[in-house]
Every structure is written in structure tokens, then in C-alpha cells.
Amino acid sequence: MTTEAFVKELCIKAEMEQEGIFARGREEGWLEAEDEVFKDRSITRKNVARICHMYLRKVMNVADLDMNGANKLKDLYDCRTCANHIAQVYMRGIMDAKNIRREGEFLWFDLDGEDDDAYNSAVIDRLLLVHIGDHVHQDMSGS
């Protein structure tokens, strides 16, 4: 799924005007310039996490959770600029992590990975179901 397709689907499901959404999203602070400039590129998981988290903050006015709940993600701190985005969407159950070890738990968010359209659509559905005051979701041990 491209960034443009992701943002458009978010618009449709959130009943927002699609026209001018990139400019509006940047003004509102939940989209970045790269989302618009590279809108034709496939969207990475870290960028899905960023858009969803900033949408939670800026549009839905949902406060952050303490990100310690995501410490089990082994690659969480690989990304200084997106660690909190990842933590928030993971802890709220909007996005999951992969268990990449056959035995035992080794959870990997896969920052630069890409998900299929169905998964990204489901991410948007889960994002829009978040309510202010929601707490940490049930433990998602990976898919």
C-alpha cells in the first residue's frame, strides 16, 4: 500500500475530506513532508506507526501511554525518532509485533518492513476505535 492510499483510506474511514489532505495533515502536525513528497512509495511499518500515533495525538486528542509497556520489542530503541510512535501503536493494539524466534519470545516490530493492504486497512480500523482513556491492550505476542 502506498502512503497516499493509506492516507486516503484513513480519510474515508474517518470521514475526512480527501482533497488537500496532505497539506492539511502537515498543518495539523500529523503528516510530514515526506508523506506528501514520497506519497507513491510503499508505506513502511514505522511510517504507519508515526502517522497513526500523530493522528491519535493531534486529531483524536488521545494522550500517550508510558512507553515502558513496549520495552519487550527488541528493535524499539533502534529508532530514536519513531520509538514512541511504535510504542504507542503497539501498546494500544493498533499494530502488532512479530515473534521471530521459534522457541521463547523475541518480539520484533520490523521498522522498515511493509504490510499488505488488508493489514494496513485493519490498522486504520483499530486506530479509529481508540477512545480517550483507553489503556494498554491485551498482550499481543506477535503474529
Partner: protein, 582 residues
């Protein structure tokens, strides 16, 4: 891009790290100012920055020393335009020069951000790699006074977002043996320096440098390992050397080899890869010069440090070439390549760990910080490492940087903020505010913490000596050197000052009240920092002392020559300035 460039400048070599042959730079005290990252993350804008400038003036923070206004990551257009950096047109519609002019018009100094890799940490493909000359010329045109340079997407190390296989540049291959002049020498019987490398199944791996990004390893002592063979020669001459090695591209086993005899380098290049890290093969011939007698043949790879230093040095050079402008150079490679060893060559400060918080704020959100935590994201995590790094810092050398202040963020109370401020001031850390200053009014609690003149005077004391930990209630032999991460303790730090005074800081690291009331005497203080104290004899022989509490301003006399803090609440501290009376 085929690999890191040759290093011709001897100042960038590991063997020269310790000496004072450095790039021209102005001795300066730790920088003070405001940086956008902790306050607004990638969401900083021209409007917000202008509001911060106006608040700095309104609060008169510049009169307290806070003079730099630094735009961090998130301010650039995500790709170059005609090969140049430009601002994000929505966030900074007037451009960087206009922003700089606004900052300067308000009597402040302007700082910017970049990265030694080809992208910034945010992912914007505008890293400085390959554009050093162009970007530095632009920075000079924009009249910057400060630059912070990050380390994401770096090509020659397995840094954040970089290709993990870049580890091939960071470590030597596994070494089984060498052959010199037809004689074989086993690696397992050779000398291993430092504690990084070790022997496994008859070969030596981890020949290289510790990754210091996480709080796992002490910064003190040798942080790199070499493998040293003693080879006796009957006469001076050139000999053929072969190395039996196996390579990989993972932390601990790489592909880049350096071979030196004594301090003379004979080989510094990538070897051919092997099938696996245990599939040993023999290198091409490397000719080395041996002297009659015992020769030390060094098998090593210091490129993790040298490459990073080389990249920062390139920026320093290009800034100098681009114009005569006094620019603070803030190295932000997060302690990864042990910059306490080399940062002084080019920089004014060097970050010592990964970030102090990853939960940065945005407009309307304070962000969150912590007092304690397992990783780097806590005040005490940064302090615990910085507090034993005093010997690396100094005026003319540069400063350990335990990251920007988190005063005012959620998750920490005002006692923690006050101790945090005091720690940073005792340790001569850069003081970069990271909160939305619109929340602050003159005289409120946050304002009083970060404008405490007496604490700032310690940070900015012209003697420029970072405090030394001279005592801790944690059981250890060398409190100034041991890396202690158990916070159930009180530390006592001593800092000599230019006028002959000495500051003492008592810090309760634990989240419980402490009644230990540890004390130190004049003799104990001087035995630890006397060699650096101005007016040591006066301090030693004083009949009495004036003790000023730097939190309350209260002063009283002391004739006992013993100093203590009394009971300390959870995370609390006391800092006193001791003036000897003749």
C-alpha cells in the same frame, strides 16, 4: 561507495587519540540554550521557534547564559533541491536564513542539525555524507553558530538504521594465526589487549571497539582490543606476513583488518570475505618491516572510531573552509564509538549514550522523562555513565554530553528536576533546555530550577573541571572509575572552582529517603581533586569555611573540616559551595 576512505591525517588515528594534536578550535565552556527536540520532536515549526525566542527574551534566559536556539531533526524538506538543503516549507516557510536572522535580531545564537550518514534520523534523505562542502557553505551563508551532528544511517558502522552488515567495517575478522617469515604464531597464545576480544575454539574474535550506545559497558579504560604477536627478528628487514582469518559482517566479526608493527601501519583494508565466520583462509601477503630484536605485530581494527572521527572531521574542515565563523560543534553519535577517546580532536562536546528520552513532546504535549530505567532513557542512566567520565572532559578539550535537559517533562517531579539540573552543572554538561517555554513564568518552580545562578556558575566556572565522584555509599574501591548502575546509593561529587572554592554535590539516586548522612573531610576531598584545585594550600589550611547551600542561598560557617548533607529525600540532593577563610 565502496568503503570508507583512506585516512591520511595522523590526528584521526587511534594511536594519536590521546595526544593534544587537535583541529583548531576555540576553548569554550559548555553550551547553553534551547533545543527543539525534547519539546516538540519533529513537530517544531518557525512559529513555535519564534515563540521560544520571544520567551527566552521575556524570561531573560539569555542573561542566565541560555543563548543558543537550536533546530533539531524534522526541520528540513525530505530531499535535496538542486543538491541543497532547504527547509520544510510548511514548518519553516520563511527558510533558515530568515530564522537565523530572527534569532540574531533578538541577540541570540542560531543552531542547526544534520547527520554524518546519508539520511537524518527522521529518515529525510538529506544527511551530510557526500555533501559536506555544499552543506557547510550553506550553513555559513545561513549564519549558524552551532551545529549538532547525529549518526543515523551511517555507512561505515552498524549504527541506527544503517545496514547491519556494516559491522564488516567495525571489526577485524576472526584470527586463528599469523605466519611471519615462514614461522607460524597462534592467536590463542598471543596477547589480547583490552576486554573486548576473547578466545573461542582456538581463534580470537571481537577485535575492535565496544559499542557504547546502550548503558552496558563502562566508558573507562581500554574500550578496544588488539591482538599482539611478539616476533623476534635476527636483523632489520622486510618480511612476508600472512594472516589466517575468517570473516563475517556481524557485531564481533568483521572483514576490515589493520596490521601495524609498533605504530607503523602496513595494512588497512577490507579482506576478501570467507564462506563463514569459522571458514578460515589465508590472507594475501602483507609485507611488514621488522627491526632486529622483538617486534610487536598488531592485528587490529580501530576503524569504528577512526571512520566516525574522520566523518566528523570532514565537517569541521568544511565549516572552516567555508568561512570564518565561530561555531559550536556538538557531536551526537550517542557514545557508540567511545567518543570520549577522540571527540576532543574536533568537537566541543560528545553525547555519551543513546537518548535521555524517546517520549518527546509536541505542541500541547510535554513529553515524558524518567528518573530511573534499564536503558538510557532516564536521568540516572545518563548520570551513572557521565559521572565517571570527568577525566575525558576539560576546557580546550570538550565536554561529555549526557543529553539535553528534561526539566519540565511529565514523569518527573520538581525534586528530580532540581537534582538533574545540579548533576548536569556539576558535570560541566551542555545545558540545553527542552521544554515549551510558554509554560514558564518568571519565578515559578521550573524557572527557579533552570535559572539557579549558583548552579549555572558551577557549569560555567572558568576553571572548567568536571566534578569527580569522590565517595559513594555503594561498596566499591574506586568511586571515580567504577560504573555503578545500582541506584540504591548516595554519591558525593567534588568540583574545584577557579576562585579556589570547591563545590560538593550530595545526590540520593534512590527513590527512597536516605538517612545515611555520609560525610567527607577536607583531606578526603583534596586527596581526590587536590591536583586540580586552584588554591589547594589555602583550602587545606583554612581555619574555617563558609558553606553556601546552592538551593537555598543560605550561608554558614564550618570549622570542623567535615561536610555532610544530612537526610536526603528520595531523588533529592544538596549542593554546597565551600569557601576557605584564611
Amino acid at each position: 561507495m565502496t568503503g570508507p576512505s583512506p585516512i591520511d591525517d595522523h590526528r584521526l588515528r587511534f594511536d594519536d587519540f590521546d595526544n593534544a594534536d587537535i583541529f583548531a578550535k576555540k576553548p569554550r565552556l559548555p553550551a547553553m540554550g534551547w533545543n527543539s527536540w525534547n519539546a516538540f520532536g519533529s513537530g517544531n515549526t518557525e512559529e513555535l521557534t519564534k515563540a521560544m525566542v520571544q520567551k527566552i527574551k521575556e524570561l531573560e534566559l539569555d542573561r542566565h547564559g541560555y543563548e543558543y536556539v537550536v533546530l533539531d531533526d524534522g526541520c528540513y524538506h525530505p530531499e535535496r533541491v538542486n543538491g541543497h538543503l532547504i527547509s520544510d516549507e510548511v514548518k519553516f516557510p520563511s527558510g533558515f536564513k530568515a530564522m537565523a536572522d530572527f534569532v540574531h535580531a533578538n541577540g541570540l545564537k542560531f543552531g542547526m542539525y544534520n547527520d554524518i550518514g546519508d539520511r537524518l534520523c527522521s529518515g529525510a534523505k538529506v544527511g551530510i555524507y557526500g555533501y559536506e562542502k555544499t552543506d557547510c557553505e550553506d550553513y555559513i551563508k545561513w549564519d549558524i553558530d552551532f551545529i549538532k551532528v547525529d549518526n543515523c544511517y551511517y555507512m561505515w558502522d552498524n549504527a541506527t538504521f544503517a545496514d547491519p552488515e556494516n559491522a564488516k567495517y567495525s571489526y577485524a575478522p576472526n584470527i586463528k594465526c599469523i605466519e611471519v617469515g615462514g614461522v607460524k604464531y597462534n592467536a590463542a597464545a598471543a596477547e589480547i589487549t583490552g576486554t573486548r576480544a576473547g578466545i573461542k575454539d582456538g581463534y580470537v574474535s571481537f577485535i575492535g571497539t565496544f559499542d557504547g550506545t546502550a548503558p552496558d559497558h563502562s566508558p573507562v579504560g581500554s574500550r578496544s582490543s588488539e591482538l599482539i604477536f611478539e616476533v623476534e627478528a635476527s636483523e632489520d628487514g622486510i618480511k612476508d606476513l600472512f594472516v589466517t582469518y575468517a570473516s563475517d559482517a556481524v557485531e564481533g566479526t568483521g572483514q576490515w583488518l589493520q596490521v601495524a608493527v609498533g605504530e607503523k601501519m602496513y595494512f588497512d583494508a577490507l579482506l576478501a570475505p570467507t564462506q563463514s565466520q569459522e571458514a578460515f583462509t589465508v590472507s594475501p601477503v602483507i609485507q611488514v618491516g621488522l627491526k632486529k630484536g622483538i617486534n610487536k605485530i598488531r592485528i587490529m581494527n580501530h576503524r569504528r572510531q577512526e571512520n566516525t572521527l574522520n566523518s566528523y572531521a570532514e565537517i569541521r574542515r568544511e565549516l572552516e573552509n567555508a568561512g570564518d565563523r565561530d561555531i559550536v560543534f556538538s557531536i551526537c553519535e550517542w557514545g557508540k564509538t567511545q567518543p570520549q577517546n577522540w571527540g576532543h580532536k574536533v568537537g566541543d562536546s560528545w553525547r555519551i549514550l543513546n537518548d535521555i528520552t524517546f517520549q518527546v513532546g509536541s505542541d500541547g504535549n510535554n513529553g515524558t522523562a524518567a528518573w530511573e530505567g534499564d536503558y538510557t532513557t532516564a536521568i540516572t542512566s545518563q548520570y551513572n555513565k557521565a559521572v565517571i567520565m570527568d577525566e575525558f572532559a576539560g576546557l580546550g578539550r570538550g565536554w561529555n554530553d549526557p543529553d539535553m535537559l528534561v526539566i519540565g517533562m511529565d514523569g518527573i517531579d520538581n525534586i528530580m528536576c532540581r537534582s538533574h539540573m545540579a548533576m548536569w552543572c556539576m558535570m560541566n554538561s551542555p545545558l540545553m533546555l527542552g521544554l515549551d517555554l510558554r509554560r514558564v513564568t518568571k519565578g515559578d518552580e521550573l524557572y527557579n530550577i533552570f535559572t539557579n545562578e549558583d548552579l549555572i556558575a558551577l557549569d560555567q566556572d572558568p576553571l572548567g573541571i568536571q566534578a569527580k565522584r569522590i565517595f559513594t555509599t555503594y561498596e566499591c574501591d574506586e568511586p571515580d572509575k567504577e560504573y555503578i548502575r545500582d541506584n540504591n546509593r548516595i554519591d558525593i561529587l567534588a568540583k574545584p572552582l577557579a576562585n579556589g572554592d570547591i563545590a560538593l554535590g550530595f545526590f540520593n539516586l534512590s527513590q527512597e529517603k536516605k538517612t545515611d548522612d555520609p560525610s567527607v573531610s577536607v583531606d578526603q576531598i583534596l586527596s581526590k581533586i587536590g591536583s586540580k584545585a586552584a588554591g589547594k594550600d589555602l583550602f587545606a589550611n583554612a581555619k574555617k569555611y563558609v558553606i553556601k547551600d546552592l538551593y537555598t542561598g543560605e550561608a554558614k560557617e564550618n570549622e570542623s573540616q567535615v561536610f555532610s548533607a544530612g537526610t536526603l529525600d528520595a531523588c533529592d540532593s544538596r549542593v554546597i559551595r565551600i569557601t576557605p577563610l584564611s
